[in-house]
Symmetry: C2
Subunit: 362 residues, 2 copies
């Protein structure tokens, strides 16, 4: 598939102008664009500007509020609940992370559960805010249901990602940013386009059978949890996904399990929802709430060095430190630009037409 | 293999007398026995009294201190670091959890990283202390290295378990208590004894090849992380295990990665250790730091009810709520007693002889 290369600033201004044109404030438009660009820069193409028209379609259906009154509705010294007022998760989650970091500054740690929000982009963006302040960052979110727990054919959970981010010294931060499903939906879409079979263990059929058919999800099947099957620990993936769902949504008052509203505008939310919007959970802990920052960073460097030096199974593939590939992509794309495949560029320029703003230069 | 059934109280007094005889205080002996018995009652036979002689052998090597001065060495309002003074993890972790819960009581949440400790039993025991106080409980620990990260043949991580425990209303708590490896070591031992092959994806050979040989670990192979191989997300299991290692050990000043001291007394710790003992990380968050407890519990019940009602793939196997099997085992074993296989009983009675205390009645 042919693709076009855009420099970061071109994509950033385009994205800001899309958000401005649906009524976001200047600061919200800049922030939302920053979250999406971070994803494109870090090589996570599925969560960047490719999603822009999806956000706009949800706004057109009045499921996203472009000028939300995001507020703390409940709190203690180190905990809070935030109501996102149906705002873009791209601005709601940074608001919540800011609260978490302020609490951590004062009380050592801060934990914020968020309801009434929408898709928040990549978890890593939010967790990394804390790392910049010598804190350990946490971010997770529930998501529209595509994943079946062990032993059922029903899609009751989202790909529910969780992220833990740790500052290091001379090395870049360690960033564990992962869906709790065996495979990300983006990988499946690549296989669908290429017409190739997928590995057994990513998806099950609508009867719960193992399958290598990349189209089984669209035919009513479901994604599998990390671990893939019971023998290989799919119940652990289910437990992790459940943890994300409960911390993000049951704790905040958002919709959980199968009630998490779909991210696609053509599917309506279920009737009789038990909560509001989708939920996130973010947190920050000051490193020096436990030990001096320099000591911690020195040992993080030692940890990273030891794992990087591990004897590889094959010479050409050393151990990968979590967060390293995304940082490599970011370095490269900051210089060489961000590639977008043709259908994404077409979709964005149709969107620009519809909103009456300048399209991307092609 | 033949086994003997003991009632809970018999095993409890025996276990207490073992800990008393190595010099533990009455309260420490009772607490340590309570942690081990909880494991046997909950059906996790690998982490209960079967480990008693292992603890004693570590004490004989002066790697466990029976009368530790466990203390807080660093703290903020909601965070602390505890030095376990080489004590039994079975008493060090409850001390840390107590601090976490006191901080949560005052400031909404409490987080404690622990160094200079030893094996702490099952993570679930510690996390459940918080649930009893209408808090969400967290517990994790690093462990002696048996697990290879993705792309290496080296054992750099332990089975590093993590536990999240959530109170519910009419239903029992949801308890996600899991090793971050694909399979627990206990399952492997069962396969070794039965002479049966193991599923591919649990263990790799010393060359990093896939294997179904249950003895491959003893022959220099390694356990695999949750996800089993790169294609099925083993890098996620690595990320989770790394998270446990960093929060438990890099943050507290314990030994991390390959330096985590072996749990078996016949293997010495590596030279030039970067920290002290092994590490844990425990935490507690007050539910009402986020929303009223009754509201939360009502939605937890609704969550559990919905997942239990999920359409099963086969009629005979419904969805299993995390924590349910352990609770069922506990109910049964409280009434019918706790089965111990013959080699464990023999080992415990040899131990009793050696310590000059009464053995188990067989």
């Amino acid at each position: 598939m042919s693709s076009f290369i855009f420099d970061e600033n071109t994509l950033r201004s385009f994205t800001e102008s899309v958000f401005l044109s649906i009524g976001c404030s200047q600061s919200h438009a800049e922030l939302a664009a920053d979250v999406l660009l971070a994803s494109d820069l870090r090589g996570i193409d599925s969560h960047g500007v490719a999603r822009l028209s999806g956000y706009v379609r949800l706004w057109e259906k009045e499921r996203i509020n472009a000028s939300p009154n995001i507020r703390v509705v409940h709190e203690t010294a180190s905990t809070a609940t935030v109501d996102g007022d149906r705002g873009l998760g791209l601005v709601v989650a940074p608001f919540a992370m800011q609260i978490a970091m302020e609490k951590a500054e004062k009380y050592g740690s801060g934990w914020v559960s968020v309801r009434n929000s929408n898709h928040f982009g990549i978890a890593g963006y939010h967790a990394l805010q804390a790392v910049a302040k010598d804190m350990i960052g946490f971010a997770m979110t529930n998501a529209s249901p595509l994943v079946a727990p062990t032993f059922t054919t029903e899609r009751l959970l989202g790909t529910n990602p969780m992220c833990y981010a740790f500052p290091a010294g001379n090395f870049p931060p360690v960033v564990v940013d992962m869906a709790t499903s065996a495979a990300a939906n983006g990988k499946l879409e690549i296989a669908q386009r290429s017409g190739k079979p997928i590995p057994e263990g990513w998806v099950q059929s609508n009867k719960g059978d193992a399958t290598t058919d990349a189209h089984a999800l669209k035919a009513g099947g479901s994604l599998l949890t990390l671990g893939s099957d019971r023998e290989h620990g799919s119940h652990k993936g289910f437990g992790l996904s459940a943890t994300v769902d409960i911390l993000s949504a049951v704790l905040s008052g958002a919709n959980y399990g199968p009630w998490a509203p779909p991210f696609v505008a053509f599917l309506d939310p279920l009737p009789n929802l038990p909560g509001e919007g989708i939920g996130h959970f973010v947190g920050a802990m000051r490193v020096d709430g436990f030990r001096p920052v320099e000591e911690f960073k020195q040992h993080m460097d030692n940890w990273i060095k030891r794992f990087k030096a591990a004897k590889p199974i094959t010479e050409e593939q050393p151990v990968v430190i979590p967060g390293e590939p995304e940082l490599e992509a970011e370095k490269e794309r900051k210089i060489k630009g961000i590639p977008l495949v043709e259908p994404v560029v077409e979709d964005l320029n149709e969107l620009a037409d519809r909103l009456g703003i300048a399209g991307l230069p092609v």
